[in-house]
Assembly symmetry: C2
Homo-oligomer: 356 residues x 2
């Protein structure tokens, strides 16, 4: 995978990529973000990473890892930090020198081609939207994440996962375009299969917003629209992109996480019951670990904030080093494939068709 990224990187026309990392964000801050940055730098020779945050703390963290600042690993000081539970409006208005804000500012100024943050999602979206603005033709940015499916190595992209509530049919339609462009550009999927999340597969099912969106998608020449997707079908590997309102997507994603955690918890309990079950558990551990890799959420860490005039990747707040590394890799891929520009030109093309 690492090679894959670097190959793409090297074959790309953009030789020198700079990515700004909100080094203070997430549950673990520099302790996770610094070693993850060092890992990715080893993988990709043409990459520059900008660690944005408290310079003293960041320098100390570099020392721990026997590393130091250089032309490919730059510290950019920021005096403030957005708390994980801080209201987005407060982070946006009150903390103009936060590591999150400064990292996004670097993208705006063209000093970085992307920003990665494990911080407060609401604040990240609010600041990114304010600083970078949305693409022409996009009313609202959306959050897209890849989730594992029953088919190994065939993740599904789901959007929106919580940036928008009360999305209209037009918004959902824009999400579909953005998701399909991303799947095509970044994951090389030809004519990505797009589905619309609903409470049944039959045409009569659903609310007004979903029914209208279905019409818009079916009428569109670019979207390979396959119809409605029920909640359980998300994970069957039949669709490349699943579109939904952010309220629904967020609840579905978190409910899925909750169930997976419950199953894992009961499994641990069951194997811990007595000496015999513990012994069997020990034997089964490598098998269960292999299972864990199949549905590995770390592997897919790095949600995309799509629809902005710039690339912003949101890492899970509790990401470990490996997971945060994957979020940086996702940013590299999107920079390489110039996702915002592709979304923009696809929208232009579709608007042109409509006008013709």
């Amino acid at each position: 995978m690492a090679n894959g990224i670097c190959n793409t990187l090297e074959s790309s026309r953009m030789k020198n990529i700079a990515i700004a990392l909100d080094a203070m964000g997430g549950d673990h801050g520099p302790k996770v973000i610094v070693p993850a940055a060092l890992m990715v730098l080893k993988e990709c020779a043409e990459l520059c990473l900008i660690l944005v945050g408290d310079s003293d703390q960041l320098r100390k963290e570099l020392v721990i890892h026997r590393a130091q600042e250089n032309e490919r690993l730059v510290i950019h000081h920021a005096s403030e930090c957005v708390a994980m539970n801080e209201p987005p409006s407060q982070a946006l208005r009150g903390k103009k020198d936060s590591s999150m804000r400064v990292a996004i500012d670097l993208v705006k100024q063209g000093k970085a081609q992307a920003c990665v943050s494990a911080g407060n999602t609401g604040a990240l979206m609010a600041i990114a939207r304010f600083v970078l603005k949305t693409l022409p033709g996009i009313d609202r940015p959306a959050i897209l994440a890849k989730l594992p499916t029953m088919v190994p190595d065939k993740p599904v992209r789901v959007l929106d996962l919580g940036a928008n509530v009360d999305s209209s049919a037009e918004h959902l339609f824009q999400f579909a375009i953005m998701g399909a462009v991303l799947a095509e550009a970044v994951d090389n999927i030809t004519a990505p299969k797009v589905g619309l999340l609903n409470i049944g597969e039959e045409e009569i099912k659903g609310n007004e917003q979903v029914k209208r969106t279905a019409q818009l998608l079916a009428d569109n020449s670019y979207i390979n629209y396959l119809g409605y997707v029920e909640g359980n079908v998300i994970f069957q590997g039949k669709f490349d992109v699943v579109v939904c309102d952010g309220f629904v997507g967020n609840v579905a994603l978190k409910a899925s996480e909750g169930v997976a955690k419950m199953v894992a918890g009961y499994m641990k309990q069951a194997f811990r019951r007595n000496l015999l079950t513990k012994l069997i558990g020990l034997c089964a551990l490598p098998i269960l670990k292999q299972l864990g890799r199949k549905i590995d959420v770390d592997r897919y860490n790095g949600a995309s904030l799509l629809g902005l005039r710039g690339i912003v990747i949101k890492s899970h707040g509790s990401a470990n080093v490996k997971a945060f590394r994957n979020a940086i890799r996702e940013a590299i891929k999107e920079v390489n494939k110039n996702v915002p520009e592709r979304i923009s030109s696809k929208l232009d093309e579709l608007l042109g068709e409509e006008a013709a």
Copy 2:
């Protein structure tokens, strides 16, 4: 559990309970429903079950189980059958002698105190609503199901699971009342903890409908409202009742099922890989089965259609004998506790308070 039900039954003032079973409904029809009925009849001496459906087929099924019609097991012929994928409007208007319709008619006529069906959910809701009507003060009936949580034997009740899309704050408020009354009456929970499904725990999160509902719930004297619930928290055992719109609830429930199936699928694959893993799997099987019992969906089979002037229980379409038995048990409990009347009088009481 069986004894518990019969004890409640015997101590109740309603000595003779009759329950109408839509014997043709579900993926398996009489093959599952007849043996499930025979099982429950053995548990409860004061119970009469009415098998509604094709009498020839039902008689044949009874012969297979060496049983026959008697005063406690009555066959009520119905010439038609609602297909699992039939549009509700067609089932409602076109099939007046379907097993589903006749079973609900029996409740309306007072010949049965409840109806249990594993058939098409949309059709069941449409017919039940048309025949039985909603309770005074209830605008829309809702579907409530119990789901397992991380705390053993502490299920959570979630409603609505798909009867309604685009629910207003008033609808959600009514769902909360119905859910709390059910938890109190049927499961003997004092001051059931009620939560509202949302995309964050903070007050500012969510759509307009959720924010307004939160206000209504917080202002109410009866509801023990604990605040917003995120998707993952549903399964943590912190809440007795979780309220949501049917679109969101349906997607969350099905997504959870989808993830559980994906994990189980990968687990099977992992244990089947080679002879050694198969051997370990064989040893681990009893442990994994015990785990299965903890999160046993069969155990909680039997969703309640709440808000109607009568008791209607929806079994999962693919229910096996044990699961369908549990749906009948749920019906017995609700008859015993007279759930519709309790909901009605709670609404009267609250309206009285408001007027005072």
